[in-house]
Symmetry: C2
Subunit: 415 residues, 2 copies
């Protein structure tokens, strides 16, 4: 499908920084939050009873020293209970559910449009007047619609006829032309080609494009800066130890910052962009996916050494039903900028969603809590943190990618 | 009931500032958020059709110049449609739903405890060891429990036997001793007296006490500072007009800040505290209440010139079922630090709640959206803003007081 790749910077951290400068005026610097209750929960071992009903039942934990199985005797000293791993985690949440349109997708969309505007040939050829086009029934549709609107460009959004009415209304609400297509990929592409031919609009793909990847990566930069700043402020305020010495300024640039960032992974635009934003910083990047009906294609690709090219899953994490794109894969896997990918079940996603709604008072979509579900419930991940981070633990950044979920659906899940 | 009033500072803005210094290490500086969609909605007139099904139906709006009724002819110039008022509002939200324990109440509780610790006689008399007591089935219970826990003091919380199990579990979760009583005020007080006599604990009232009022008022100080800072940042970033001139620093201290703050009003601790925090700043303070079954006691008291001393309402805004306390009333009404109080219906509260969940992605309790419901739906308030703020409009600070609502209840409201 036609798109503009004339002005695509290289996939580097420096390009992510440049992207951030371009889109800053259009996006929110979303807040980073922490939660004591979730830190406590994440840093407690789950009991044998809690694990009994899960895929982790009967699991023998290796000891911290790597020895295979805990001995009966070890259970009595209180340190080596049978049951789940006991990592030390301090969790930091980047709240992209509070981003414009309710999701991180505006970062990539605004960056793509800014880059088009820098392409003299495109502008002189009437690109602005002809506008942009995408196909999506989700957050990317609204992101492109908003970016076009704020640049007084027309936007054409191809949506399946079966899309939920609020999503259609939402996209139209940003002034976009909504064009309906069938639900299959060939039907959708046929419609897109037709509209592209008629309008001369420029296609803005949802994830498999350097400008989208670099745009989404800007969130990683903010996350890194904000955690350093919050750590410094906390150190400065003396916190609950009441020392109250006002040493904010001394600490400002010495805080350690994040050890890890974990994002959800659907098409991989965000995961690869954030990985680029972390290159050379010492921060380890992980991905996370739903396991339901094979939606964990990135994880499976890692294990097979080859990208999985198609997925057909109806996981409740509806933003993560897509297979990882070719370009994201090259960053995530081929360049080894993501260390590992973990998966979670539908039940683990639902439990994490409840915790965020109840404890953090944030409305998030199921896709957004997949990294938290990994941190709380995936014993492979938890064991790895226990082993590698030891008693010091890790500061782990988790991305809440979006908050676009219908109240009626939440009501169904928790009613 | 016995309490400690030996160390209560005067009810002034300076005392609120001093309170803030004391409690800063224990509380979150909660974020202030804005929302373009809600600003647009608040600044649009509701049509005659929208008003038709409400208590505002058939209302004749006075013109901006104060003339009584719009003439038929005026409808045609497009400026004077029949229908609702058309104020210009820029809304700023102080997110105390993201505060510790999910509500502003920790501010007052920690301040009360800090003041006790400054009372030499109380400390020497074994106050810390004997602990604190309160009666509440809501956010104040958890706030006192947390403040006691972090000071290694015992906390005794009197709760009605009929309290919801999650609230009981929540309070116990902070390590408090929960003691059950009957549901009526005399039963509750009898139990409290008994426990006070047995334990020698110190009573921490929910709102009718200077230290509680001053503690809650600290939120107003943060709100004022944060909006000035956000306005300066916005001016500095050039925002969507792409001027991109980096003039942050020039603007830092010249931003105008808020014109208005509006808070919910139950017992009045928060409203009176915030009013004190605004004294002498030029910010006008308003209160807001549910009208259901007479829960708008403060509004009625304003109109009658006398405090309403008892209320029996089952409004969904369950934090606002209490009548305004004597001391809060003296600040709110007798000292005229609150200009006016507005009310809203249950339907208006529900509509505002849906907007916050869907558009702002925040979980808030019904009580928390009462100020927003006034801004969006109370035509008395909206007309007043249209008239007094004119085309420049007002920057209006609304307090989201808390987010403690059971998912099951939300599911019932929106399922």
């Amino acid at each position: 499908m036609a798109d503009s790749t004339t002005t695509t910077p290289p996939l580097t951290r420096a390009s992510v920084i440049a992207a951030h400068e371009l889109i800053k005026p259009y996006i929110h610097r979303t807040p980073v939050l922490t939660n004591t209750t979730l830190n406590k929960l994440a840093s407690s071992a789950r009991s044998e009873e809690e694990l009994a009903g899960t895929r982790w039942r009967g699991r023998e934990q290796p000891g911290v020293d790597g020895s295979k199985v805990r001995e009966e005797g070890e259970k009595e000293d209180g340190r080596r209970q049978k049951g789940g791993a006991k990592p030390v985690m301090r969790l930091w949440f980047k709240c992209e559910n509070l981003q414009r349109i309710g999701a991180f997708k505006v970062r990539g969309a605004f960056h793509a449009v800014e880059r088009l505007k820098m392409d003299r040939e495109w502008v002189d050829g009437g690109g602005l007047e002809r506008g942009v086009l995408t196909h999506s029934s989700g957050n990317h549709a609204q992101a492109v619609a908003l970016a076009a609107k704020e640049n007084n460009m027309p936007a054409y959004i191809i949506m399946p006829e079966i899309s939920a009415p609020p999503k259609i209304a939402g996209t139209k609400g940003y002034g976009a032309h909504v064009i309906f297509s069938g639900s299959t990929a060939p039907e959708r592409e046929a419609t897109a080609h037709k509209v592209l031919a008629e309008t001369g609009a420029t296609f803005i793909p949802p994830y498999d494009h350097p400008n989208i990847i670099l745009g989404q990566g800007t969130m990683g930069l903010e996350f890194q800066e904000q955690v350093v700043q919050l750590m410094a402020e906390k150190a400065g305020s003396g916190n609950a130890d009441r020392s109250n010495s006002n040493s904010n300024h001394d600490n400002k640039n010495t805080a350690k910052g994040l050890d890890v960032i974990m994002t959800p992974c659907g098409g991989g635009g965000m995961l690869s962009g954030v990985a680029l934003s972390c290159e050379g910083t010492g921060i380890t990047v992980f991905g996370s996916e739903p396991s339901h009906q094979g939606a964990d294609d990135c994880k499976r690709g890692f294990e097979a050494g080859q990208r999985v090219e198609s997925v057909s899953s109806l996981t409740i994490a509806d933003g993560l039903r897509t297979p990882v794109g070719k370009l994201p894969w090259s960053v995530i896997y081929e360049r080894r900028l993501v260390k590992q990918v973990f998966n979670v079940t539908e039940e683990e996603i639902t439990a994490a969603l409840r915790l965020v709604l109840e404890r953090m008072k944030l409305v998030v979509e199921p896709s957004a809590v997949v990294p938290l579900a990994v941190a709380l419930f995936n014993e492979d991940f938890r064991e790895m943190v226990e082993r590698e981070a030891g008693d010091d633990g890790w500061d782990i950044g988790l991305v809440f990618s979006g908050g676009n979920v219908a109240l009626e659906n939440l009501a169904k899940m928790f009613g």
